[in-house]
């Protein structure tokens, strides 16, 4: 197998781990040294030309090939069968509409969140229950980690220069979640977005870290749950003040509450859109984009009318709704990952191409 990557040598495993730090091949966490043998194992699984270009990764404009992605998959600890999901995620973030250069360099704190939907969630062993965003599952941890290492190593996304995010968030290390098909009372995300039920897809959105929402779905009626979710979105400090896409992860209990009350997913979105508003008298306190800007809220609400409402969900389609998480208690904690704001980055959906067996 011909590989293009430059070869480095280290005398043993511990030296290799330190060498990766010295070469700035990691963002702080240790990595698995990418030996030829381990990389070739992933390439053999993928059955694709190692030099096939998957995308150009901003801001460095590094060329992500199947080979370089496989190298970063090894460093992240991916099993070979996880690699197709990493490849699909990289294809997605390299699309122009995702605006990766902006995502990587903005002062905002957004990071690409990979959302997996479809049969591979189960076959690859993703955790969709307790701690769905967090630790405890190799698939989501290492796939998210591989994506970050690609952004770091191929994209040159180093904090300070050129990446200006003032806060960042823990999802910068690894940011991947999978949809819980069994507890989802509605159509799964990939079907909603036009893919076949038997497909597995990755949806990527540039979002903030998850903010917990106590929806109280175990105690209250659906109308209250919707009201609480909408209230969480309409925060003055949120970039959602200028609209744009966001991710709402409903706990199974919250989703069940809403579905039992007759809510479809579309109705959940439209009701949240209706309620996630703030009056002009409050919104006025948030200085953000220049008033003449076409995306300023004054284009959709009368700035001279204190009682006019400014919607934080401009279009229902801006809401990506997933079902995941533990059943929990009556608090039915959900998560909101606010986006980067209006039209700055658009979510991208990709079907995962698995090798022929």
């Amino acid at each position: 197998m011909h590989l293009a990557a430059r070869i480095h040598e280290a005398r043993d495993m511990l030296t290799a781990v330190e060498y990766c730090y010295e070469q700035k091949w990691t963002d702080g966490l240790p990595v698995v040294p990418p030996t030829e043998e381990a990389v070739e194992r992933i390439l053999a699984y993928l059955q694709r030309d190692p030099q096939e270009v998957v995308g150009v990764i901003a801001p460095r404009d590094g060329v992500a090939t199947i080979e370089t992605i496989a190298i970063n998959c090894v460093m992240a600890g991916c099993k070979p069968e996880y690699a197709p999901l990493v490849v699909a995620t990289i294809e997605a973030i390299a699309e122009e509409r995702f605006n990766l250069n902006g995502v990587q360099t903005t002062t905002h704190g957004c990071a690409p969140l990979a959302m997996v939907s479809g049969p591979a969630v189960k076959t690859l062993g993703f955790n969709t229950r307790e701690c769905a965003f967090g630790h405890g599952c190799r698939a989501s941890a290492t796939i998210g980690r591989a994506v970050r290492l690609v952004l770091w190593n191929i994209g040159g996304g180093y904090p300070g220069e050129p990446c200006k995010t003032t806060q960042g968030h823990p999802g910068y290390y690894s940011f991947c979640i999978a949809e819980d098909a069994e507890n989802n009372p509605w159509e799964p995300l990939h079907v909603e977005r036009g893919f076949k039920a038997e497909d597995t897809t990755v949806t990527v959105a540039a979002v903030e870290g998850p903010r917990l929402i106590g929806s109280s779905a175990g105690y209250g009626p659906a109308e209250d749950v919707i009201y609480i979710l909408a209230d969480a979105i309409a925060a003055l400090g949120s970039p959602q003040i200028s609209g744009g896409d966001m991710v709402l992860v409903l706990s199974p209990m919250a989703a069940r509450n809403l579905a039992n009350a007759g809510y479809s997913k579309a109705r959940v979105k439209s009701e949240i859109q209706r309620l996630a508003t703030r009056p002009v008298r409050e919104v006025r306190h948030r200085q953000s984009i220049v008033e003449t800007h076409p995306m300023h809220w004054n284009k959709i609400a009368d700035p001279n009318d204190d009682d006019a409402r400014v919607p934080f969900v401009r279009e229902a389609a801006n809401l990506i709704v997933l079902v995941a998480g533990g059943w929990g208690s009556g608090g039915a904690f959900c998560s909101l990952c606010a986006g980067w704001g209006a039209r700055r980055s658009h979510p991208v959906h990709k079907r995962v191409e698995f090798p022929a067996t």
Partner: protein
């Protein structure tokens, strides 16, 4: 046993650049102003435009103020500006 590690950074994409011509002077030339309309740079950009127009007396000034502050300007708009101008100032507030 020596371990052979593969470099994870890969190559950098390159862009073919056309022939560049040097302007002997900016005076009287056609200027383009490309601005991302970021609030933090609004006052500075206005002042800069005034200063450039005052000092170099351009024969024409064309403005490309991006509708989407955070994304690249559409290629067709950039190409159009390139055809109409001798030089351009690009400003990004952030």
């Amino acid at each position: 046993m020596t371990l052979r590690l593969l470099d994870p950074t890969g190559s950098v994409a390159t862009i073919e650049r056309g022939e560049e011509r040097k302007l002997e002077s900016l005076t009287g030339k056609r200027v383009g102003f490309v601005f991302n309309q970021h609030k933090s740079a609004l006052a500075f950009w206005k002042a800069l435009e005034r200063a450039v127009e005052g000092k170099f007396q351009p024969s024409a000034a064309h403005r490309l103020y991006k509708v989407n502050t955070w994304a690249p300007a559409p290629k067709e708009e950039v190409d159009q500006l390139t055809r109409k101008t001798d030089y351009a100032l690009v400003g990004m507030g952030a």
